[in-house]
Amino acid sequence: MAKLNLLLLLVLIVCALGLVTSQHKARKLFSELEREQARARELDVEYGKLQLEASTWGLHARIEKVATGTLGMRTPDPRRVRIVEREAAQ
């Protein structure tokens, strides 16, 4: 009887320690999760900023201005444009 009790005590101690460690691990993982989520939010903010920046740089009016002004480009004369029809089996 005493042997059985001792064995059970041992099992109990192991279980208790297991519980403590797993709780600790869970806490650690959770704080890591929180950190990553905060990072995700930061990246989200940055993504938004970059999207805005991209669309501001890509404004047609701006492209037109840079192309004609800074780069000296112009629309080709339509006589020098050839439209090639795609050979599709339509």
Binding site: F30, R41, S55, P78
Partner: protein
């Protein structure tokens, strides 16, 4: 005494022991009952109360979907921003710190003090929606009693170009105008929530459960082509400035799919900064305003006459030297032709008398039916808030003079978009196409209104109108054949027609051999002395058509020779 006591056992009455026993049992029963009451019957309530001491429900915002143009370029984006709020009673800050805070937030120190002065309130916004970097600096001040929370702010990279179409949202991100309002259900995110355990300092230490997952709104892709939109905006703006006009609108429609490729309104506004907005700027003239279209309606009258076999393009209509009199009303023509002109010339030169005479040969019910099937008098069903349906009175109320004037677009009102849509019947060989503001890609099925034969005949007449001798030679472009009709109508004011205020318009198709685009342009009150649709609106059409056809890689159907521009005042004049 003690001997007596020990020797004679006192026999207590049995009932006393029983009474004690019963009392004890009753006490236990009460305890058991109470515990059952607490543990079994009230457990949820109590557990909830217990958890409320440390668990909190956090809201997880759902992001609003983006609005994109057909090439995937963003027209509306939500980006996270911070809102700064305070519990006035808890704020501990020195005057220097408050000055710094005020400077960071861009709030006057006096106003800040006023906001923080009311200690009875336990929530006050100091500033909503500031940039994340700014918020970071505010957080670094480390002031007690001042908090932040995350919100989303809507930005419109397209700015004033697409302001009317895209619309805007309020501070809480709910759509208030335009597409933002019409597609609120698709775009709007649904916020979720989760339950967490917070420690004394407010840090989240454990996640208990996710109550509801946040749902992000869906992106919406519009039919608008940013490049064509930008092109139309530029051309229209230049015309407005050049002719000192009050307002204007332009619409570009892809004939095959019914997609609206561009929709421009002027004056416009910057949706990113709506501090000072007037109703004039907000008006979406192309969609929600209707006007008397004038001569742009003549082709429908002529199409009906052709369809009913009353005339052929070569039938001669006599437009004598004298104006046409109906009852007490007189219809004038600027260019009387003693010999009469053909039906095709009625369109080419925009003859009012000719159109009126053709109309009088038609049953008024048929004319009403034609206008009705062309989509006038009914909203175009784009799913846009406040679409105008225009005005088309029932045929039985038309008097002959009204039937005659309606032939050239008086006594009827339409929106610019309705007009453009109606012209798809000439572009699609007799079919009118349902329009869409959303990207479709696939060709749309149309509804037949007139025969292909009639549609082609009218198209040929519309092509004559842009040739020398027509009303709009300025609509021609290099490389493609175009066709179209001008309109110049007196504006209605106080129940009558204003003698010196006009609406100039032009609706055209290009390329004429196999139409791909319908472009409609309307310019309100040009006031530099020129007001004919062929002079004011047609050049805008030409500019937009030239650019749009090139952008869409539409094959040329005309020799690549520069188009000679007519000299000042050489085009045929029209009176409506």
């Amino acid at each position: 005494m003690s001997a007596v006591a020990t020797s004679s056992i006192v026999r207590l009455p049995v009932w006393r022991a029983r009474a004690v026993m019963a009392a004890l049992l009753a006490a236990f029963a009460v305890l058991a009952g109470r515990s059952v009451y607490l543990q079994a019957l009230h457990t949820d309530f109590l557990q909830g109360k217990g958890e409320a001491r440390y668990s909190r429900v956090l809201e997880i915002p759902g992001t609003r979907g983006r609005i994109l143009d057909r090439n995937g370029e963003a027209l509306a984006i939500s980006t996270p921003v911070q809102s700064v709020w305070a519990i006035p009673g808890d704020v501990e800050a020195s005057p220097a710190q408050l000055r710094k805070l005020g400077a960071l937030l861009g709030v006057e120190p006096r106003e800040l003090k006023k906001k923080l002065g009311d200690i009875s309130r336990d929530f006050v916004y100091l500033k909503r929606q500031i940039a994340p970097e700014q918020a970071e600096q505010v957080a670094r001040l480390g002031l007690a009693g001042i908090y932040q929370h995350r919100e989303f702010r809507r930005y419109y990279p397209g700015g004033e170009l697409t302001a009317h179409l895209v619309g805007f949202t309020g501070v809480d991100e709910a759509g208030q105008e335009g597409i933002e309002l019409a597609h609120q259900a698709t775009l709007g995110g649904v916020p979720g929530s989760r339950r967490v355990i917070k420690d004394r300092l407010g840090h989240v230490v454990e996640d208990i459960e996710s109550i509801r997952a946040a749902q992000d709104g869906k992106d919406l892709q519009l039919a608008i082509d940013g490049k064509i939109q930008s092109l139309a905006y530029g051309a229209l703006k230049a015309a407005l400035v050049g002719h000192r006009a009050k307002a204007g609108a332009a619409v570009v429609i892809d004939v095959r799919s019914g997609e609206v490729l561009a929709l421009v309104n002027l004056p416009t506004f910057n949706p990113n900064n709506r501090a000072r907005l007037s109703g004039e700027q907000l008006r979406n003239r192309a969609l929600t305003d209707s006007f008397e279209p004038g001569s742009t309606l003549k082709p429908f009258t002529v199409a009906l006459a052709l369809e009913e076999g009353k005339v052929t393009p070569r039938t001669v209509v006599s437009v004598g030297r004298d104006p046409l009199r109906i009852a007490s009303y007189t219809i004038h023509d600027p260019h009387p032709e003693p010999g009469g002109i053909s039906v095709a010339q009625v369109i080419q030169r925009s003859s009012n008398v000719g159109a009126a005479k053709i109309a009088l040969a038609l049953p008024r019910e048929d004319m009403w039916d034609m206008f009705n099937r062309a989509g006038f008098g009914a909203a175009p069903q784009l799913g846009f808030p406040g679409e105008a349906s225009g005005k088309l009175r029932p045929a039985r109320s038309w008097r002959p003079v009204e039937q005659a004037t309606m032939a050239y677009g008086h006594g009827i009102s339409v929106s610019l978009l309705q007009l453009a849509r109606a012209y798809t019947m000439f572009a699609r060989d007799g079919e009118i196409v349902p329009l869409t503001l959303l990207k479709a890609d696939a060709p749309a099925a149309g509804t037949r209104v007139i025969s292909a034969q009639t549609a082609r005949e009218v198209r040929a007449m519309l092509e004559l109108a842009v040739q020398p001798g027509g009303t709009a030679p300025r609509a021609r472009i290099m490389g493609w054949r175009v066709a179209g009709k001008t309109g110049t109508a007196h504006k209605q004011e106080n129940g009558g027609y204003a003698p010196d205020k006009y609406i100039s318009s032009f609706v055209g198709l290009a390329p004429a051999s196999a139409p791909r685009l319908v472009i409609a342009v309307m310019i309100d009150e040009p006031s530099d002395g020129k007001y004919y649709g062929g002079v004011v609106a047609a050049p805008v059409f030409a500019q937009v058509a030239q650019g749009a056809l090139r952008l869409l890689n539409v094959p040329h159907d005309a020799p690549l020779e520069p188009v000679p521009l007519p000299g000042e005042g050489e085009e045929a004049k029209e009176s409506t």
